[in-house]
Symmetry: C5
């Protein structure tokens, strides 16, 4: 699998920049394109599943907001779109690149935003990361998602049923709402991890097992991965909010700022989780050391008490013919007494030294 | 509990932004609204406990400063307020979100400040965090607090009895004074932790117990939590002080700067406490290692001295028929002498090697 | 003591900002006020020890530079000063607060600088921290110091005897020279610590004792404390140097920059000391581990060699009636030979394995 | 080898800056110069292998883009180039310095970019670093590479066969495309390391061997080296993108920004790998400690159980004439019973204490 | 020695700023002053060894560049210089202060640069640090070096023999070339450390000795010291390059930028060395732990196998009269068989558990 991934990222080196090629380790699924157009009064939808490279895009009716959603990868369809809407090949290339760092770019007559949908795996620490890219044009939004995920359908349903703000607001609001949906989903991730952290703490309290470091390692690894996908998003939104493109209405900036707040909250949470895990790891380590200490103390105690006694017993187990003590009537009992005195003396000494 | 928390934060994903819904793991308590209006001459108060969603807000008399305090959550009441004062739904949503990161925002005709009241738990390291939000309008301040806490009542009492500055100054001074009251309360937290740190150091000095790492972990965890709530507040005040909104009088900026100083002081303290704890942890670890070393040295010493002696005793405990030494008249005493020489020799050797 | 400190810091929460109250755990000592006025030709001094709240401040003669020095705390005296010179209550409050973070502020007609005098305790790592605050007005400097320390008197002596620059330069130079005197004193602290570091290294080299971690901890603690007091001073001087207040003459900026250099030098030194201590701690830890390793190797060696031999001796110490070897004429000597061979073989094996 | 390297870097100290001398530990290979000129219609190539210092550079035909590629080092050739094109000696010196930090500089009539080609060694963590330098002039690009590597030839082939953008775009696009080719190659490095990381994790899972720390150390070392070469490149591109030189067309900035994205991605990856390795190291350490703990527990258990029993056996192996227990009919069996009771009792006690 | 150092740094506290006094722990050596004046045609030199405080400085001939080099300390000579050239006392004081942080300052009619010449000690990690200070005036450069070092003489020789750039360029080029000579010397330091690092790695590979932590500590200490002297130099050059003083010609900025590149390279190298050493330390630590683990395993193995066997032998060495097994004909051989079975069984068990 690793090899497969490798072969893909680097496949492009040696080709001209802007050559369309899907970079990533996803398989190309049966693609589809959904075209939705709406205003506050009506909404129309059409879905294409074949001949995606021959769709005609007509956004002339300025009364409508158009939303084109690509689900799955079809390079020909992308090229068709690019030609009709005059989207730069570099942008399409970015949209095809699953390894793309989240970013925002103002281009000639459109803006481009790339982020990741992250879906927690409820069974473990891992999550699935699906790249989602948006293009905002004069009166249209194009979204690219290289695998099918119900989140876009539920957004569509929301749009169809809505009698509210979203239908009456312009195209930049649609752009905001789509990206916001992706970012809001990060809360699921954080919550799953918060739950997992509680489980982990319980596990440690109950078991103190040797599996703990490995679990913490896996957890941290996932946090690192998520951080890598979210941190650049902060910068992206900084750029977006400062954007001077006239695609963004001044009055809608507050919505993007709201998403930015969510991103900051998620980053805070990730940092908190990471520090928390380091904290747990340190404590675990400390307690392991403590236990080792206790174990060693016990061993040392037993050795310290019995080794001399055993030596004494060894002495009188020797077979020398001339060992006067052996003949003494109370020799045995005297020795036992001596042994008890030695043992008790040692115990008292240790007690005094706060060793016990 | 964790699950409950989870279900709440994420409940909103998939809803339009600006949908009012209380996010948090607090229970909704019986809400109340206190309306206070004052100038330097008189002060009037009214409190509503029912039908909060039908209160009429009338701030026309520009001679007065108006303070509306919401205690507890009543969504209908919030919506009523929002509609009458033209507060954006996003702001009300923020005011309802207990997980909100502290922040400051200038909006069209009002400013919004969100922070946390933090109340130390005197029994342990933990603290209770209550979100408090403020809206500053042309001649009114609205405060939201989602549970009852006496701090606001004592502020009110202060206001009623005051013959001083606060009553003669404008609405931005009220805004400042309310927020400053919350921030000043952080000193209680810091002091509680300073006391706890002293206790912890005493505990370590006296007990050196295996509970120490866990205690430090818990302490650090709380510091991390507090830091998460206070650090963004610094940025918020930076924004507030640079704000160009004409709600803030130039002459009052020094008061906000004073609060900012307090925030910086608290952050310094938190960092100091954290570094201090790391320092303690390192030392504890070092001392544990030291003790392990000492234990091992003792064990090794005893083993090193007695194991060879015991071996010698074992030799002469064998039952071979032909063991000439056994027949020697002074064999036993010779062996004892040899043993003493070996033992003393070893001790001297160790002494010389600075091993003892 | 901790409790006492606590009760003070938090005493003010719930009072209006700008309420004068001395915050700190110092006792109020018999206060005094020294008024000095000078120009390059003459110098006049008067000292007040009683009725400090009735002193009249008259700075009308623009030919003179006035320096008012408050030693000890007398709130009424502060209020009197504030009223006559129109000093804002927030500033006086800051001057009374011993926990104040070092800072610089330009206010309406004066500037305020707060820093700490730090006096090393030559016996240990600790130091005494005395807050010193300065107000620079049109032709006067006011200094506040809440306990008596000879540093100010020796400054005064210098001023009286001086025929040099200080007497001919303006009021901002006095301000500079006073603050510089405090900052220069930090070098004593650094030097004391450098000496202590040398002592610590010698101690470690000679003793390698278990007291080392505790000593390092204490040392680090003091460094942390000092850093907390000096780092904000850097920011304060940054502000001061950029200040656009016309109280500071352009030509004197180089003096403040010189003080800033000293502050940076001290911060560098503190960071160096801290890293150095961490370095020592790591090495100490490493060497402890090394020693543990050596100890364990010795133990293992002895056990590995003698345990099997002792077992062999045990075998022939058994009392079975039918043990043919026991009857052999040279059984005993054969066994001894075997034992020697086993022991030497093991030693050689260990040697070969680089274990010895 | 180290010495050789040393002698070279420092050879220049004491010479005037701008003295041409090749600094580095590479051997000077047979140099060659390739001159390529093209526009969208035609492409011409010539290669020089001898008398490099007498080449005439003639870029007068503004219809063409000229690319001069130096492969290997020939100082006379550099000087010849510098004189004809008015390249500053400092620039040529930089181009000759293999230790140069990646950087971008705008100079009078040309721009200079220095970076490293990094070629992974598929067998290990190491990589080979080849400095590559570019000069962008009015209608020419000069590239310097001090050893032969096929990457430039394949670029040339691409250029010859291309009917696409690269041939119709200007000289800054060539500059971009060449540098981009080098940067794209970093992906090979990252992928090789990702594969190696997978191998390392497998190795740890299977072997948990003592070679692990050394492997991690070597890995980290290489990451550090790579980071040192790539981090300054980020700054270099920041400068390039902000460059106000009119050598760069506004419309082509997006291409450089694309390369910048790749650089950021690579830096992210390097940081991720480094943190990942630290994470693995911590876990490995933790598990080692765990295992030590387990080992010690087993040892202590065995010692704790058998040492007292052996002592008992020792007692009754003594040869005192008067030891009544020895005469008892069931003495032996009683003792065995006692021993079993002691052993079982201890085991139960340990079980209860959760020690087993 | 420490005390001596102390007494010097702090000697100045309590004196007016700008009081000339040599601060440092160097002894004052016989000072000398070298005056060199040159243009592209001729060069004149004179050296003063006595009456340094009466030298007349005459730079009126604007055709020449003047270089005054002070070697060793003579305060009267400094004062004489200061008076004639109108150098501020604060600057002279800085030039006399061996503890000065590297810095750059633009003053009224001259600029001041302070840095350290660092000379590696080829025998160890240490280096000698000699402060060097430069003043750049209208047509002169003054350099101060408080001990004699051949570097300045070789520079002078270079100047005398040069027919090249340096003689034809202006005074700022001289200033650059002198400082660059000092900075270039840092490469010797880095190379010496690179060699030492190689030696250290070899030493560890061969010996794995307990001296390693102490060696690493000493190494790091020196790196820290060097970093302290070089990091501020980066800031100094930032200021120099941005300087708007007309002492610096626009066309020569690229030379200073070149020196800046060298400084950045050295800082990169220092950071690399530091991280590398940390890496080595971690690995060493890990391997120590590994070895401890191995040692403990061996010990535990031997104990686990022999302790029970020795116990069995002890049993049958007891002298009970009624021990039936002792009478059995093949009792002894049966027991030996049992022992072998127990031992082999244990070994197999450990093998299965991957313990061996």
């Amino acid at each position: 699998m690793a090899t497969k991934k490798s072969s893909r990222i680097t496949e492009k080196t040696g080709m001209a920049p802007g050559t369309l090629l899907h970079i990533g380790y996803r398989e190309i699924k049966d693609a589809s394109v959904q075209v939705t157009q709406y205003n506050s009064d009506e909404i129309k939808r059409s879905e294409y599943k074949v001949k995606l490279d021959q769709i005609k895009y007509d956004f002339k009716d300025k009364d409508f907001v158009y939303w084109i959603h690509f689900s799955g990868i079809d390079i020909a369809a992308y090229e068709n779109l690019g030609k009709q809407l005059d989207i730069h090949n570099l942008t399409l290339e970015d949209a095809l690149n699953s390894h793309l760092r989240p970013k925002f770019e103002d281009l000639d007559h459109y803006s481009f935003l790339s982020l990741k949908l992250m879906i927690p795996n409820l069974e473990g620490y891992a999550f699935k990361s699906i790249p989602v890219n948006f293009i905002l044009g004069e009166n249209y939004v194009i979204s690219f998602m290289d695998s099918h995920h119900p989140i876009m359908n539920s957004f569509l349903t929301r749009l169809e049923n809505s009698t509210r703000r979203i239908r009456s607001k312009g195209v930049d609001y649609l752009f905001f709402a789509l990206a916001d949906t992706i970012v809001d989903n990060y809360f699921h991730l954080i919550e799953n991890w918060n739950d997992k952290l509680d489980e982990l703490e319980e596990f440690i309290a109950k078991e103190n097992s040797e599996l703990v470091p490995r679990k913490i390692e896996n957890f941290k690894k996932q946090l690192m991965k998520a951080r890598r996908s979210i941190l650049p998003l902060k910068e992206a939104y900084d750029l977006l909010i400062q954007s001077e493109s006239n695609l963004f209405l001044e009055e809608n900036v507050k919505f993007f700022r709201d998403t930015q707040d969510h991103i900051l909250f998620v980053i805070d949470q990730l940092d908190y989780l990471r520090d928390y895990l380091s904290n747990i790891r340190d404590t675990f380590q400390s307690e392991q050391n403590n236990q080792l200490n206790k174990t060693m103390k016990l061993l040392t105690l037993i050795a310290t008490i019995f080794i001399p006694l055993t030596f004494l017993a060894g002495i009188y187990g020797m077979n020398f013919t001339n060992m006067p003590e052996l003949e003494w009537k109370y020799g045995y009992f005297s020795l036992l007494t001596v042994m008890i005195i030695v043992a008790v003396g040692m115990l008292l000494y240790f007690k005094k030294k706060k060793w016990l």
